[in-house]
Subunit: 314 residues, 2 copies
């Protein structure tokens, strides 16, 4: 097979040995693989793959067809359409995934959508519900709402009966985010639209102080992205006065069982909404799998609405 | 009646009108009232009482006898021994408390212990269990373990089957804290004794960075005190890597129903341990109620183990 391979900070489309599924694992023929900000960090050598994932093949999410089963794998059959969050290796023609990390793709969902679904929706669902316990009627602020996790977070919060306020840096993307059900506001002065029961923080940096000031009693700030800065000043008295919480979370470093638990939560609570069309993945652009370097350049340019996804030629 | 009254940053023992219990309220003859750090702040004019509490009579916790019932009060009878966290007014001969905020005092518990129990144990129980979900077998670090909330937190965590590491600034108090069941370590380098599932942070300031570095996956830092500084730098990437949470909490600003809920949790889960002698309130010193100014001077001097409690002459 071929795989996107990191060579001296660039991506090359290289011949690689076919992976072989081990116990409980499934061999997947890749049909679509979404891009994530972590791919750019990994290409630059600043985000090494976790143990058990290929060190030089990027790609954190995949959709494809089951082509072989390892010993003891019982959840799927050859030909099944499946998707998953993986620790790496998705930007390739084939990869091996533990069957407990796979989620079925509902009928009628196209490959580009499935390839851009797992990372963003698993991250957003885990942050909003598993970590922060979002409840109907709560007031949510999503910072950085035009990207993959942002559009997922807005849709999931709206589907759960929350009122959603979204900030979007690029003014040209605001109408598109509003179509997802959010009230889109300027990042400056977003706090005037609070107080918020839950803040989904995909930006970091100076936002944190304003997030805290706009927090309702019992409010939660859940931090998933820190592009604007990771070292922030927090006023603990403000946190105490709100009886608030600040969560941090990331999927990639989790154990097999924690990733499987997140996949099961998505399978039970999010896949039905994808199947019925209540939620979807806005696709910013698709590229052929072997043109991964061009896809990265497009991704790095910013100003996107939704996901950039690689598609196989099959 | 007489009450401790704040006059120009000092406390005077003044004649005041007797309070009258309203609907659902109980008039309590004060037998004991513990001191808290907030009293010193309030005396200095830096911590105003919440609405509904007397502005110039300090005292956040009380133990005493029911002497009259307001309309609709049904939980207690005259002569019952009761205690409560209150918004203020406890350092007086009498005060009015909503019956939903009162908790019965078990037989055999002396007044000094009951007077120093409510604030520290309600705060510690709320932080460890209601906020942070402490579970058996978890590893807990209590910073500032020699004070009222610290000694309560150590005892409650030990009673719940946790392993407790405690830091105590004043070396002369370390043996006493160790008798409560904690492994007492030097505040410098406490992180070497981690990782911790839960950090009860009663100090604040520079501790936060080291707390984060010592956090186990899924760990919680719950901030109750910030004497060493409220504005702290937090590395959000460290929080994300640990999938950690930082909670802040305070009792005083809560609604009637939130305070009542905290009282019910204490009544159900903590009072039985007080009654059986598994937990207690270490008493640093007692003073007669009318010598409240001397008690404050002793409290302010620091280096205490446990609570400073005012006792009535009755």
């Amino acid at each position: 097979m071929h795989a996107a391979t990191i060579v001296d900070g660039r991506i090359e489309w290289q011949e690689r040995p076919d992976p072989v599924p081990g116990t409980g694992e499934v061999l997947v023929a890749v049909r679509a693989a979404g891009l994530n900000a972590a791919d750019l960090l990994q290409r630059a050598g600043r985000y090494p793959a976790p143990p058990g994932s290929p060190a030089d093949v990027p790609g954190l999410e995949v959709a494809g067809e089951v082509v072989a089963l390892g010993p003891g794998a019982v959840r799927f059959e050859e030909g099944d359409r499946v998707m998953a969050v993986v620790g790496g290796g998705a930007q390739a023609e084939r990869l091996v995934v533990h069957e407990r990390h796979l989620v079925p793709i509902p009928d009628g969902v196209e490959w580009a959508v499935a390839g851009g679904f797992p990372e963003a929706f698993t991250t957003a669902h885990d942050a909003l519900f598993t970590q922060a316990g979002l409840a109907m009627g709560e007031r949510v602020c999503v910072h950085g709402a035009a990207g993959g996790v942002g559009t997922a977070g807005v849709q999931l919060a709206v589907a759960a009966g929350a009122e959603v306020v979204a900030t979007v840096r690029d003014a040209s993307r605001r109408d598109a985010v509003a179509t997802l059900g959010a009230t889109v506001v300027d990042p400056e002065g977003f706090g005037d639209h609070g107080p918020f029961d839950l803040v989904l923080e995909l930006i970091g940096g100076d936002n944190l102080g304003a997030d805290l000031a706009a927090l309702a009693p019992g409010g939660r700030i859940t931090v998933i992205g820190v592009g604007a800065g990771a070292k922030v000043e927090v006023n603990l008295l403000a946190l105490m006065a709100a009886r608030g919480r600040i969560h941090g979370s990331t999927l990639r470093a989790r154990s097999l069982e924690d990733k499987a638990a997140a996949a099961r939560a998505v399978e039970r609570h999010v896949i039905p909404l994808l199947g019925s069309g209540r939620i979807t993945v806005p696709i910013d652009a698709t590229f052929p799998l072997h043109e991964v370097e061009a896809a990265y350049e497009h991704f790095a340019a910013g100003g996107k609405f939704g996901k950039v996804v690689l598609l196989s030629d099959a």
